[in-house]
């Protein structure tokens, strides 16, 4: 379903962000992407939703190749991918419900189905009662739930989450993480970039660890014990590419 083959990503100014990265994520799988800042986690996610293309190698996602995908095809692909960020990226001047509806409207979905679909996903993320609240009236955890609801509205086959708990306190983190597990349990693959080693340790999901743009550990290929999680990540200042905004 998702395959990276010998992917290299270089930026003109900051150099190599990814060096010969290869891995595969199967349908319905839950995988963590871990590693220190600048290790290439976000770059991989951007390659997955084709905001960027690899300098060399190939990314396959749901039958679409990074080598041949163009404008409309990429737009259609993104309708089947849910994307969640650390900073939520909600529109401040719209209610929770309008933020979620927005994702359906821009794809030209028929009006008749929009209302019921929005109500369904807001219920799914536990925010049915906050549909008319504006983002500033919601807690961080609730805002991230709205963002997740927006990511789910188009029934994605994969949810890509870039540090979704990075801005949340512990309790909200637990809630959002549980929500991602539930989403995964219902058949949607989840790829989650995170710094949170506790979170990684507490669950038995697949872990792909990056360092200096290389995969240094993949629990699908090595026994779990091979990676001593109590070792902290090497802190490095290797710059990656441009900012995460698309």
């Amino acid at each position: 379903m998702i395959r990276l083959t010998d992917v290299v990503k270089e930026y003109p100014r900051s150099g190599v962000a990814l060096a010969h990265v290869s891995f595969e994520v199967r349908k319905g799988e839950f995988a963590y992407l871990t590693g220190p800042s600048g290790s290439g986690k976000s770059t991989i996610l951007r390659l997955l939703y084709m905001d960027e293309k690899p300098t060399a190698g190939e990314v396959w996602i749901n039958g679409v190749s990074s080598k041949s995908a163009r404008g409309r095809e990429i737009s259609k692909l993104r309708r089947r991918i849910g994307i969640v960020f650390q900073d939520f990226r909600l529109l401040e001047d719209r209610t929770a419900e309008a933020n979620v509806r927005f994702a359906l409207e821009v794809t030209g979905a028929p009006k008749a189905t929009i209302r019921s679909k929005v109500a369904r996903v807001l219920t799914q993320v536990g925010l049915a009662s906050k549909a008319t609240s504006f983002p500033r009236e919601l807690s961080g955890g609730e805002q991230q739930r709205v963002a997740i609801a927006r990511a789910l509205i188009n029934d994605p086959f994969v949810l890509i989450a870039d540090e979704p708990t990075g801005n949340l306190d512990e309790r909200a983190t637990r809630g959002v993480f549980q929500l991602l597990r539930d989403i995964n349990a219902s058949g949607t693959a989840v790829i989650m970039a995170t710094h949170d080693l506790d979170l990684v340790r507490r669950s038995n999901y697949r872990t792909i660890e990056l360092n200096h743009g290389r995969v240094v550990f993949d629990s699908a290929e090595s026994p779990a014990s091979a990676r001593p999680f109590d070792e902290p990540f090497d802190i490095q200042e290797t710059p990656t590419g441009p900012s995460e905004s698309i």
């Binding site: 084709m50 737009s75 990226r89 994702a103 409207e105 927006r150 188009n154 698309i246």
Partner: protein, 281 residues
């Protein structure tokens, strides 16, 4: 339809920014419009003066009227010539008396020679052309003298050239300023919605879907700005007409062109500004 609705909703969400955008476009076009108004009025004034460019051939007393009539027909067929008038001795006297009322008694019949006045077509009044027509007329035997105010024609022509060059240079400068200001305004309006655009891309909106509301928005603001500018120029023109000098206003074609120009600038500005946010991989 959805795009038009989206454009309208976006303007309603940020009414102040939208109003500011329309006003900035309006005042940029107003400055350009004022320049245009001055330019067309100077042009008209020069045209009015240049209408007085004429070649006058004084006829000898012995000129045969039939020969003169035949020559007038010939001259009338020159491509440069608009009209040829015959001024008899009596007409010349009458005209001189009228023009110099207080010396009316000085003139006596027979003092002034008969002449033919050759009026030139618009665009055929440059010193070179006027001189060539005068030279051709001079070849007729019954023509005593040919006058066309050589120095005056040259001065007028130089003035017209200066006005044209200055007009084009100033026009380009004013247009450039308007384009830059309008471009910056639209960019600001698009920038205010950069987050919205990035989210639209994330959730799979096509570029066309994202662009269209901005194009409509730019078009509407361009037209509104153009109309406000037109109104301001019209008011200025009325005030000048009322209290200072008589001026002319833009004709219907220029008004139409101005509004279409505003709309095109609005749309083009939006297209370029949104394009920057639609970074393609």
């Amino acid at each position: 339809m959805r795009s038009a609705h989206e454009a309208l909703t976006a303007s309603r969400r940020a009414p102040l920014l939208s109003a500011l955008g329309v006003l900035t476009i309006a005042f940029s076009l107003f400055a350009f419009g004022l320049f245009g108004l001055v330019a067309i009025n100077i042009r008209r004034a020069l045209e009015q003066v240049s209408e007085r460019v004429e070649v006058r051939a004084f006829l000898s007393d012995s000129a045969d009227i039939e020969q003169v009539a035949a020559a007038m027909k010939d001259i009338g067929e020159f491509p440069e010539v608009l009209r040829v008038d015959y001024v008899s001795q009596e007409n010349a006297l009458e005209r001189a008396r009228k023009e110099m009322g207080e010396f009316a008694d000085v003139f006596e019949a027979g003092v002034l020679p008969a002449s033919i006045e050759v009026h030139l077509r618009p665009g055929m009044r440059s010193p070179r052309i006027v001189k060539s027509v005068a030279d051709k007329i001079r070849t007729y035997q019954f023509v005593d003298d040919v006058r066309y105010g050589e120095e005056w024609v040259e001065k007028l022509y130089r003035l017209r050239n200066i006005a044209t060059v200055a007009g084009i240079a100033l026009g380009v400068a004013f247009a450039a300023v308007a384009v830059i200001i309008i471009g910056a305004t639209i960019r600001m309006m698009v920038l205010a919605r950069a987050k919205e655009i990035s989210i639209m891309r994330l959730v799979g909106a096509t570029d066309m879907f994202i662009r269209l509301p901005f194009l409509i928005d730019g078009l509407v603001k361009g037209v509104l700005g153009g109309l406000v500018a037109l109104l301001l120029v019209w008011i200025t023109n009325r005030v000048v007409n009322e209290y200072f000098i008589e001026t002319i206003f833009f004709n219907r074609d220029l008004i139409f062109l101005g509004i279409v120009g505003g709309a095109a600038m609005g749309m083009f500005g939006s297209l370029v500004s949104v394009g920057r946010h639609l970074r393609r991989v």
